[in-house]
């Protein structure tokens, strides 16, 4: 197999832990066989249909991508009517998964030579080459993995192992990047100067669960009563703006899956009635703000709400409560920059040297909570031009940057629950 036939694989229905294990699992499959990419660029989708929303995911994906081969995993796969779907039985072994990939490859239209169609997208899915120490780490772990190993076991067995000479901060950053796909997806950077590429960086929040929740909350405030949101299987969420709490009747993984695809009429809203009380009583609550934040990140997947301007300065009205909300990658640095004012989204990507999806996802989540705005007055635009970061890198670094980098390395470890310095 050669690089010309690398399959672009997207996935659905996995939580961050499973995703991490899955990526390790893929490292044992010939790395030229497939690479993880975003949903729109994928040749093949891998979907775990045992989750709460498995059927919905399968149908939703087929609706959006009728000609795309799918690989579905299940404990007990049922016979499938869909000729473009390949089933694998869990726990998924390397041989079975490789065979499924090959089968899916044969289902691709003859005119679609996998990665040859868009090599840039595949290359960008791995934004930074792994340092040698990290690559060696991955390889050594992969060597330990027996051929038939459940994905969950892969994670537990290998967590925390690393070569003695590996830079812990590099490993932590790599871990953060891997985990980040749970919230910001894996959309590759696009040429922001190419208007044709702009379709890929925008989404319409109102077409997603994010929009349904916003409408439901507005309605609940109007009628001064809690509301519920139902999916195809019944009540998924109960929202009570008076208490500021949401009650979630779906697993986080299932909710994420629901939030990632356009709802297309599959979600409805209604008042909470007295008969709902026993159900709500059995659910754990969480702040509405945290739900809105997560759902916005999931819907965005590294894209911007339609209508957002790339060159208007962003004003951060208020920092998100990042000790109680999910911290997307580079959120602190982005917020730090925006708190100074005068930086547009394009400038932010440039100044911080981070993937566009990090900036766009963070903006989308802040926008959902009303924490950011774009300033388009002539004075603000002029000020933004003055503060625009130079492209020649001649600006001298502040005197304490080296110290800050070391402190931040330490803090990254604390944030990820590990000791950065070993």
């Amino acid at each position: 197999m050669n690089a010309q036939t690398t399959l672009r694989l997207c996935h659905s229905g996995m939580d961050s832990r499973s995703l991490y294990a899955f990526e390790i699992f893929l490292s044992r499959v010939d790395h030229r066989a497939c690479q993880i990419t975003d949903e729109e660029a994928a040749d093949v989708a891998f979907i775990d249909i045992d989750s709460d929303l498995g059927t919905y995911l399968l149908e939703g994906h087929r609706l959006l991508y009728p000609a795309r081969p799918l690989i579905v995993s299940a404990q007990a796969p049922k016979p499938l009517d869909d000729p473009l779907t390949v089933a694998v039985t869990k726990p998924v072994g390397l041989a079975a998964f490789s065979a499924a990939l090959e089968q899916a490859r044969r289902l691709l239209p003859a005119t679609q030579p996998a990665s040859a169609a868009a090599p840039a997208a595949v290359a960008s899915a791995e934004p930074e080459a792994a340092p040698p120490a990290v690559a060696a780490d991955t390889a050594s772990r992969a060597e330990d993995i027996p051929d038939e190993m459940p994905i969950e076991a892969l994670f537990d067995r290998n967590a925390g192992r690393r070569p003695a000479n590996a830079d812990p901060v590099v490993l932590l950053r790599q871990l953060e990047e891997r985990l980040s796909t749970f919230y910001v997806g894996s959309m590759p950077d696009v040429d922001l100067d190419n208007p044709a590429a702009h379709a890929a960086i925008y989404y319409a929040p109102e077409h997603f669960l994010q929009g349904e929740i916003a409408r439901a909350l507005a309605h609940a405030r109007e009628i001064r009563r809690p509301v519920r949101i139902d999916d195809g299987s019944g009540a998924a969420l109960f929202l009570d703006p008076r208490s500021g709490l949401a009650y979630q009747a779906r697993s986080t993984n299932a909710l994420r899956a629901l939030a990632q695809l356009p709802t297309r009429g599959t979600v409805t809203m209604g008042r909470v009635e007295s008969r709902d009380a026993p159900v709500i009583g059995g659910l754990v609550s969480r702040p509405l703000e945290a739900l809105e934040w997560d759902v916005a990140l999931w819907a965005s997947r590294g894209r911007l709400p339609r209508g957002t301007h790339l060159d208007h300065p962003v004003r951060l009205r208020c920092w998100p409560n990042l000790t109680r909300l999910a911290v997307p990658p580079e959120a602190m640095r982005i917020a730090g920059l925006w708190s100074k004012g005068g930086f547009s989204l394009r400038d932010t990507v440039h100044a911080l040297g981070v993937p566009q999806r990090y900036v766009f996802a963070f903006y989308s989540a802040c926008h959902a909570l009303g924490l950011v705005e774009q300033v388009a007055t002539p004075a603000a635009l002029a000020a933004a031009r003055m503060t625009r970061p130079g492209s020649d890198g001649t600006q001298p670094a502040p005197p304490m940057r080296g110290l800050f980098k070391r402190i931040l390395g330490k803090l990254l470890g604390a944030r990820l629950g590990e000791a950065a310095t070993g």
């Binding site: 812990p168 901060v169 932590l172 950053r173 500021g244 004003r315 951060l316 009205r317 208020c318 920092w319 409560n321 990042l322 000790t323 109680r324 911290v327 602190m332 640095r333 982005i334 917020a335 730090g336 920059l337 925006w338 708190s339 100074k340 004012g341 100044a351 911080l352 670094a397 502040p398 304490m400 940057r401 110290l403 800050f404 980098k405 070391r406 402190i407 931040l408 390395g409 330490k410 803090l411 990254l412 604390a414 944030r415 629950g417 950065a420 310095t421």
Partner: protein, 179 residues
């Protein structure tokens, strides 16, 4: 060797001692209990009602964490402690007294230091009283001319919360710096 410090300030009971302990890699030195009248007669560098902790960095250097005395009668210590500091973490107890008044007081007391460095606000005990909200704190900061400042709910016992506050304040000072 340079003596880099992060300062924790705020009213009594806001969680400064706990926060310094949570972030420190060494057993913290606590002198709050020794802050009696007799102690005040001893020379400042050995007396003092302060908390001390340290973060050990990978290169062997140390970031010193100082918790200032909360009582305004020790305010003479604040200027001494902030000398050479790189950032301020201000903790405010949301469940006691008038938190926004406390915020105004400490912003005023440390305004010179904040203008030279940066501040992040940690709101403690928000689980016991939900108001004022974080947006109310930001409104006070706007009124006082400090602009958009990190304001987070924190549990001072949680190392992760305290470290996020520190990360935020450093990101305000130099967003380009990266681990």
């Amino acid at each position: 060797m340079s003596h880099y410090k992060i300062i924790f300030a705020g009213p009594v009971g806001a969680g400064k001692t706990t926060a310094v302990s949570a972030a420190s890699d060494i057993p913290p030195v606590r002198t709050d209990t020794a802050a009696s009248d007799e102690v005040r007669d001893i020379k400042p560098q050995t007396t003092v009602a302060l908390d001390y902790g340290a973060m050990k960095l990978a290169d062997g250097s140390t970031i010193h964490l100082y918790g200032t005395p909360g009582q305004p009668r020790f305010d003479f210590m604040w200027e001494i402690l902030t000398e050479g500091g790189i950032a301020l973490i201000l903790l405010i107890d949301n469940a006691r007294g008038d938190p926004l008044r406390e915020l105004r007081f400490y912003l005023g007391a440390f305004s010179g230091f904040i203008r030279k460095t940066a501040v992040a606000i940690g709101v403690t005990h928000a689980d016991q009283r939900s108001t004022p909200r974080l947006a109310d704190y930001q409104a006070e900061l706007d009124k006082a001319g400090f602009g958009c400042v990190p304001v987070f709910e924190v549990d001072a016992r949680e190392r992760r919360d305290v470290c996020l506050l520190i990360e935020a304040v450093l990101s305000v000072i130099d967003p380009v710096a990266r681990a």
